[in-house]
């Protein structure tokens, strides 16, 4: 690992400012993904700004009747929080479906959103990867792609976003709150927060240099049956082949996001409108533009089937 200097930031503003003044600086919170990337020199910051002391680690109600989740709330605490379990069960379930107890103890809300793909070629620094080194090529395309994206892909990248939490956040219409280096604040709907790979797969979110995520807010509870179904090869501690996060109302309408199939949690308004008509038409609309590989074509069928199981469960 490359050497770096380390500081603990004392306020959000100070952190943003420190990061803006040093293009080689990175924030560190839980560090569960960043450390592994640094060990491999996929990330090579010369300076780390530890933001664990910023105090943005509370879960509180919003004026609108929703909930604001501090960026540093640990995944363990978020999953266990009474309000989340009661009103946003989908989020709690998605969190518990991800990683392991030890990782959830460290991983933060913002860090979870910002984690990078688990594409094995991204992690093998001997192999070309546009996400790791822009313009070097994609070695996944034509390689081992069973886990990779089937929709929203580009000729430059077919990686997926690995988060379970983000799928729930997407289905629940979360909004990401940030502070920019100049101290200004903005709110980014999660729909716009993650980017598709396009020609610039190395740029994964709309965050600017030095911009700090301070919180994620959820709108007022929407009720309904909230289901997170993660499909994987082993019963625990594995990334999703496909996951479905859904809120289904008694009239059959609802909100649904899918994980494991794209560079970001996948949710399509026109597909959602098909929900009352069932899983097949919903899945067809979700995956209308899918470009699977030979190895991951099964995900098309798997999304349809998993969604079918989720809708059956919601009805039951």
């Amino acid at each position: 690992m490359r050497a770096f200097t380390y500081e603990r930031a004392s306020s959000v503003e100070a952190a943003a400012k420190a990061a803006a003044s040093n293009s080689q600086a990175r924030f560190i919170a839980g560090g569960t993904n960043l450390l592994d990337l640094m060990k491999l020199e996929i990330e090579t910051p010369t300076h780390l700004i530890d933001i664990n002391g910023l105090g943005v680690d509370k879960i509180e109600g919003t004026q609108e009747g929703g909930v604001r989740i501090g960026a540093l709330v640990r995944n363990t605490d978020l999953a266990a929080h009474e309000t989340i379990r009661r009103d946003y069960g989908l989020l709690s379930r998605a969190l518990l479906a991800g990683a392991s107890g030890q990782l959830r103890n460290k991983a933060t809300t913002a860090g979870n959103l910002l984690q990078r793909t688990r594409c094995p070629y991204f992690y093998d620094t001997n192999q070309p990867c546009n996400k790791r080194q822009q313009g070097s090529g994609c070695s996944a395309i034509g390689g081992f792609t069973r886990q990779h994206a089937v929709v929203g892909t580009s000729d430059a990248c077919i990686a997926t976003h690995p988060s379970d939490m983000a799928v729930a956040m997407r289905a629940l219409d979360a909004v990401v709150e940030t502070v920019k280096a100049d101290g200004s604040r903005r709110s980014v709907p999660i729909e716009d927060f993650h980017r598709l790979p396009g020609d610039t797969p190395h740029i994964e979110t709309v965050l600017e240099a030095g911009e700090v995520v301070t919180a994620v807010t959820l709108p007022p509870p929407v009720g309904g049956k909230q289901i997170y179904r993660k499909v994987r090869d082993r019963a625990s501690y594995a990334f999703a082949l496909v996951s479905v996060g859904a809120v289904i109302q008694s009239d059959g309408t609802g909100q649904v996001a899918v994980g494991g199939i794209a560079h970001k949690p996948w949710r399509i308004a026109t597909a959602e409108a098909e929900l009352p008509r069932g899983a097949k038409s919903t899945a067809d609309a979700l995956l209308a533009d899918a470009r699977p590989t030979e190895q991951n074509r099964f995900k098309i069928d798997l999304v349809r089937r998993t969604l079918g199981a989720v809708l059956t469960e919601a009805r039951g």
Partner: protein, 163 residues
């Protein structure tokens, strides 16, 4: 690169040392402090062999910089019990044969220790879920689960007797 002055409490004892910011907590524990119970199986958070208890929570010490642990209270397998005074979990792992090669065992027991603090009377399913970040390639897990459930029963019996 300059080193940082780091203060830790490790297994109840205050420790001060100098470390580069890039040094991982697991390396500092093992190489600087000769606390070699926590093992390195993968160094990428997948295997759980490096599990320790930090400020009352289970973490994987391969994925924490020692600099981040500055000021923390750390417990490793060495702090749970000694060969002459085993922790109940250690006794149960031994008696129920919850170990073979023993490499995953310190992480397994340290994780189980915190699991039972958080959930003193877990079901088998809760144990399996709670332990799912700790891999073992020898035992098939069954005896590990048995050992943890037996330790929970023993600890609860002691607690009841005390009340």
């Amino acid at each position: 690169m300059s080193k940082m002055h780091i203060k830790l409490t490790v297994n109840g004892k205050p420790v001060e040392l100098l470390a580069e910011p890039r040094e991982l907590l697991i390396h500092v524990l093992r190489e600087e402090l000769s606390i070699t119970g926590p093992h390195i199986g993968c160094e990428t958070t997948h295997c759980g062999a490096c599990t320790i208890d930090m400020d009352g929570r289970s973490i994987k010490s391969c994925t924490v910089f020692a600099a981040q642990a500055n000021g923390a209270n750390v417990t490793t397998i060495e702090g749970l019990g000694t060969p002459d005074g085993l922790h109940v979990l250690q006794t149960m792992f031994k008696e129920h044969h919850g170990l073979q090669c023993g490499f995953c065992t310190p992480g397994m027991i340290t994780r189980a220790y915190r699991l039972l603090q958080e959930n003193p009377d877990p079901t088998e399913e809760e144990v399996r879920f709670g332990m799912s970040g700790n891999l073992c390639r020898c035992t098939g897990y069954q005896n590990i689960v048995k050992a943890i459930l037996a330790a929970a029963a023993e600890l609860n019996a002691v607690k009841e007797a005390a009340q």
